[in-house]
Symmetry: C2
Subunit: 365 residues, 2 copies
């Protein structure tokens, strides 16, 4: 198997959701792979994604467009596809081929919308297992989970304790804290309050754009850091300030930047997918069946664990990564905690290729 | 003059706004006082407010309702009205009696709305001076400026270098940084995107409530701190979670709390007033006419300066207070910097009466 780009697995019904819902329609999981799975099938690295990325992690022969981790994954890069077989799965509930609220309901011929069952991180994780099985892989070399993907990775090892040798959690958490729950609640409310949302039954040509833009604007603010913006923007004025449309028009470059970036994003991502996955991040609690995180990491068959975080992460603060480290450490796993000097906040792993690349290259060398 | 509650001063036109606008209508500034101005008129403390409070700082004989700083200001309290004559002014542009976009335009008989000139912090400050003059006060004992009020206080001492002996800046800044500019820009956009805003010409019976609620929700998130919410709420579920209306209904107590508090607030505050003052906070730069803050604090006639801040202030981070301290210190003022161990973020001065009360009592004893 070599350099095959987008593939998919169909999960035969029923799919049992964590909520108790039994879903009798087939579920499709889209994934991409890079590199070559070796004969022993022991060189596979699974990357579980954050909320918004697709399975297109890096460019390939089949799809030469840049992927969301282009600078980290590839031949000769930190996760070296000359050596490793990299699998990236589009999460259940997302909108890039994998089943979710924006998929077509085969019975009605319309999109599922809110009739799609509530999705949990546990469901995202269990829907990935058939991909691993399809590829004939018994044990992964590693799972690498950034952001929400770290929660998915934690759920995978909990549900399938022998699924991987190594585990890399990046800017992740065992559960969301109230500050980030509050931020995501506001983002969801901005979308569901948009009159165009229409209880999830929006017209595809008339999306709840204002709500999505505002949700993304808040995301852009809180996924990055004050330190980065002090350096990049400070109080620099926009060039055409004399042409400011009105009293409340943009005055500063930071405003202009966030507006442009928010407007760009919203066309890509399905509003209901966003709501479902945002909700799943709030609800996930790795330790819900045990006294604490330490209790949740007993009896895992893990060789090495690497936990990476940065300062000024408002989504999953470094304390979350420390808590995970302490739990793995107390249970005598071989675990390392890295606090990288990135200034890009929660999104550092997507931006600071130098620091993250070095850390991952060192781990996988 | 003793215990007189709500009073007002009419500023005779024209009022020259910083923007260049010359306003030919009379401007009314509402204020309240507590305590007794002594014969020498040297025991007056002016409190300049944050964005949303009225002039009603504490209960009085005339108005027994609790004020916004009830636990700090009063007889025998940290700012002791047995000793001091406390003046609190409702800021220009606000909506509690003082002139602003929600006031009546005497010519049209309608509210000014966006025809009211753009308001700057400098305008807020210069509109306070007539109150001091009206009271016959030449030099204030102190100006106490929390949050936006700290900016107003800085502008007052810049415009009138002999106006006060002492200066207390609380959770304030010489200018806004890009992170908080971004937050306020989003808040303004949430209001101006609300269809009920109608370019500022909303019906008073049909306010842009969704936008105001969302702006307040974001305010509630960012005026407090993750540490406070970890302690108060953690991941505690709401009681009636089984009755959750839908997939995206509240699950956690933090969500319920923020929703209730946001819904409460919005009925009080005029949307256009909010927009005008929010915009003024972004634009203010105490050091705009000098090389830096140090350059802006030369030649002030100040006896003592106290600068107070806390950890986890997302609006004006402690670095802002350090920058102010360093500037006053470099210019050899008698200046003290206090970092209080409050966990309530930017709003600590409104909530943590113990720490703030002690600090202010010590300063004013």
């Amino acid at each position: 198997m070599n350099g095959i780009a987008k593939k998919s697995v169909n999960i035969h019904p029923p799919f049992n959701f964590k909520s108790g819902a039994v879903f009798n329609d087939p579920i499709t999981i889209v994934y991409e792979t890079l590199g070559t799975l070796n004969a022993k099938k022991n060189n596979a690295i699974l990357v579980t994604t954050g909320l918004s990325p697709s399975a297109h992690i890096a460019s390939s022969l089949e799809d030469s467009s840049s992927g969301w981790w282009e600078d980290i994954v590839g031949k000769g890069k930190s996760i070296d596809t000359s050596e490793y077989f990299v699998i990236c799965v589009n999460s259940l509930g997302s909108c890039f081929g994998t089943s979710g609220p924006s998929s077509m309901d085969p019975r009605s011929g319309k999109r599922y919308r809110l009739s799609f069952p509530e999705i949990s991180i546990e469901d995202v994780a269990s829907s990935i297992k058939p991909v691993i099985d399809e590829l004939g892989i018994e044990t992964l070399k590693a799972i690498v989970g950034p952001s929400m993907g770290g929660m998915t990775a934690l759920s995978l090892i909990k549900q399938y304790p022998n699924i991987t040798n190594d585990l890399v959690l990046i800017s992740a958490a065992s559960s969301s804290r109230p500050f980030s729950i509050a931020l995501r609640s506001l983002q969801r409310s901005m979308i569901t309050s948009d009159p165009q949302w229409k209880e999830g039954n929006y017209n595809q040509d008339d999306l709840p754009l204002e709500g999505m833009k505002h949700a993304r604007f808040l995301g852009m603010i809180t996924y990055r850091s004050p330190t980065e913006w002090n350096k990049r923007f400070g109080r620099k004025l926009i060039q055409n300030i004399a042409e400011r449309a009105d009293l409340f028009g943009n005055r500063f470059q930071i405003q202009d930047y966030l507006k442009r970036r928010s407007d760009d994003f919203i066309s890509d991502f399905d509003p209901n997918s966003y709501l479902y996955l945002s909700n799943a991040i709030d609800a996930f609690d790795f330790a819900e069946d045990s006294d604490d995180i330490e209790g949740a990491v007993t009896n895992l068959d893990l060789n090495r664990v690497l936990i990476i975080g940065v300062e000024e992460d408002y989504i999953f603060p470094f304390q979350c990564q420390e808590d995970l480290y302490n739990a793995f450490s107390a249970q005598k796993y071989s675990v390392e905690l890295l606090k990288l000097p990135s200034i890009n906040g929660h999104d550092s792993f997507l931006v600071d290729h130098e620091n993250f690349g070095s850390a991952l290259a060192e781990f996988f060398k």
